[in-house]
């Protein structure tokens, strides 16, 4: 029986704001005549800020630790989902600022970009709030379809269209697995509602249908977060896409896929229901995590293109996040979930910042995406080299940056889970963090200890500078006062 209570609409805040402003922006594109396009970006940022406020307002109206089921269980409103909505809206707003400068400089002024970005963010919010397989699917597709188009937004770029093609084909392939997995899970449990699935699985022997369903879902989400061996699209799509879109894919899309995994794996199929051994998604993910971190880091070592290197680094970060998810899945009373959410925050901020520097450094004559193009940046532009160093340190997990505490919390929660069952995984993770220091410091070395190969003519854009400064401050703030954020995570 479907009943909709008027109260349910109160929890739609961020989702509704992002959708409405996104649709308005697509409409506004029709009226953006000539060069007056700045207001598109301003409207996007305004929409994101409104969505953040809506998320904060809703966050405060929800009691800690409660899950409010809205629209007959299709959506779940809890503090975690509101935190994630604010995170998605925040990265969307920052990346819109990068996008405006990038579009002006490289002359691909595609107005739909902004509208699609907000609609993608609305899809992400839906994933974060999802309480049903159907809403997870709608959210993932709303997000993915928008991002495919954004990847191909530079229509005349051969690299852009190639990256978009690979991204689309692999993404759609993954969607096939996702739907089939959901179909089997529905068949095994007789419901698409995650709560009902959980209670049905708790009282019955897990059938072969459930096992097949979980296998399909693992493949699907493996593609979405670019875990190895499902990562082959990621470096190509990241390199081919316009840099702001790459930032969006690396920060927001990956976080949203992790949010979907939290909803499906950790909350619906986790805890006492699916421990190690029985259906054991966590044992599969533990192995995938170890391989993903190792191969991702080793592949990143030999990249000389910054965007490609960051792509492999984001593959490696997906592996670290999987460690947290496994810990949260097998020990739901532990701090696994909180550490994953904090990691997403620290990782998103550093990613937006790092790609922000990549946007900032180039111009239409020389895009400067190769490592050798960054030689001598510190001498010419010390401030930019310093913030880039901060983001690299945060990625590598070196204090005093947010990335250090993110890795620390995450590995600590993994260590505490189930009598150190994940000790080997933590050791692999820590060893990998050491490997990753090599290639992050390669960027720092290039900026500080080499001679410039030409005069730097970076983008002259206040918005980009603002993004870099804000991300730099946040990275430092999270490194100095990490506990100030833990109360906001909502778990």
């Amino acid at each position: 029986m479907i009943t909709i209570v008027p109260n349910d609409f109160l929890y739609l805040g961020p989702l509704a704001v992002l959708t409405i402003v996104g649709l308005l922006l697509i409409l506004a594109e029709a009226f953006a005549i000539g060069k007056r396009r700045r207001f598109l970006m301003q409207l996007t940022v305004a929409g994101s800020v409104m969505a953040i406020f809506a998320a904060i307002y809703t966050w405060r109206s929800i009691e800690p630790g409660t899950q409010i089921s809205a629209f007959s269980g299709m959506l779940i409103a809890d503090r975690m989902s509101m935190f994630l909505c604010a995170l998605f809206a925040g990265s969307t707003g920052l990346i819109a600022m990068l996008g405006a400068a990038h579009q002006r400089e490289y002359d691909w002024q595609v107005g739909e970009f902004y509208g699609l970005m907000l609609l993608a963010a609305a899809g992400m919010c839906m994933i974060a709030m999802a309480g049903d397989l159907i809403t997870i699917f709608i959210g993932i597709e709303t997000m993915s379809l928008a991002v495919y188009v954004m990847t191909a937004a530079r229509r005349r770029s051969r690299r852009g269209s190639e990256g978009a093609m690979k991204y689309f084909l692999m993404g759609a392939f993954a969607s096939g697995f996702l739907v089939y997995g959901m179909a089997l899970l529905y068949g095994a449990t007789g419901s698409t509602n995650l709560q009902t699935i959980r209670s049905v699985l708790a009282t019955s022997q897990s059938s072969s249908l459930t096992v097949a369903a979980i296998f399909m879902l693992i493949v699907a989400f493996g593609f979405k977060i670019a875990a190895i061996p499902f990562h082959m699209w990621a470096p190509d799509a990241y390199e081919g896409a316009p840099t702001p879109v790459t930032a969006f894919m690396a920060a927001a899309v990956k976080s949203a896929a992790i949010a979907g995994m939290i909803r499906i794996f950790v909350q619906a199929l986790g805890g006492a229901i699916v421990p190690f051994g029985q259906v054991g998604w966590s044992s599969i993910f533990a192995i995938i995590a170890a391989i993903t971190m190792t191969v991702g880091n080793i592949a990143a070592l030999r990249q000389d293109n910054i965007k490609r290197m960051l792509a492999y680094s984001s593959v490696a970060h997906a592996g670290v996040l999987l460690v947290g998810l496994v810990a949260a899945g097998i020990a739901p009373e532990g701090e696994g979930l909180a550490s994953v959410l904090f990691y997403l925050l620290a990782y998103s901020v550093a990613t937006v910042g790092a790609f922000g520097v990549v946007v900032w450094i180039g111009n239409r004559d020389r895009e400067r995406v190769l490592l050798s193009d960054w030689y001598g940046l510190a001498a010419a532009k010390p401030a930019a080299a310093m913030v880039m160093t901060l983001f690299m340190l945060s990625f590598a997990g070196i204090p005093p940056t947010g990335g250090f505490f993110a890795k620390f919390f995450l590995f600590k929660s993994a260590l505490m889970a189930q009598d150190q069952a994940l000790l080997w995984l933590v050791i692999v993770g820590v060893l990998n963090s050491m490997i990753s220091i090599f290639y992050y410091l390669k960027v720092v070395m290039a900026m500080y200890f080499r001679d410039a190969t030409g005069e730097f003519k970076p983008l002259n854009s206040g918005a980009v500078t603002f993004v870099l400064v804000l991300c730099g401050i946040l990275v430092l703030q999270m490194g100095m006062m990490p506990t100030s954020w833990l109360g906001y995570l909502g778990v």
């Binding site: 709608i138 495919y148 188009v149 690299r159 093609m165 689309f168 089939y180 390199e239």
Partner: protein, 111 residues
Amino acid sequence: MSIFYDLTLSHFLVLAATLFAIGITGVLLRRNAIIVMMSIELMLNAANITVLAFSRGFAGQDNNAAYQGQAFALIVIAIAAAEAAVGLAIVVTVFRTRRHSDIDRLTMLKD
């Protein structure tokens, strides 16, 4: 030949699994982007057959479950259509810049 008269749930599930396998094979083996997209559609439709077969199986005992499956199938159909539209648009942009849509020959981006 009783299998033509007594169709059970398993027949539909086997049909769907076969279609899904054909879809995967098509994606992995075919090189033309359009045919790969057709294979992906096959995978989505295999999932839809599965959902609807289960939904029919639940009908009568648990109508709520049956309706959920039907709603899911409708949404999958709608989204598959949107996905095809976006995919064809991307194929067109690739074709415009290169005059082919052979995914094996997309080699500008690689390690």
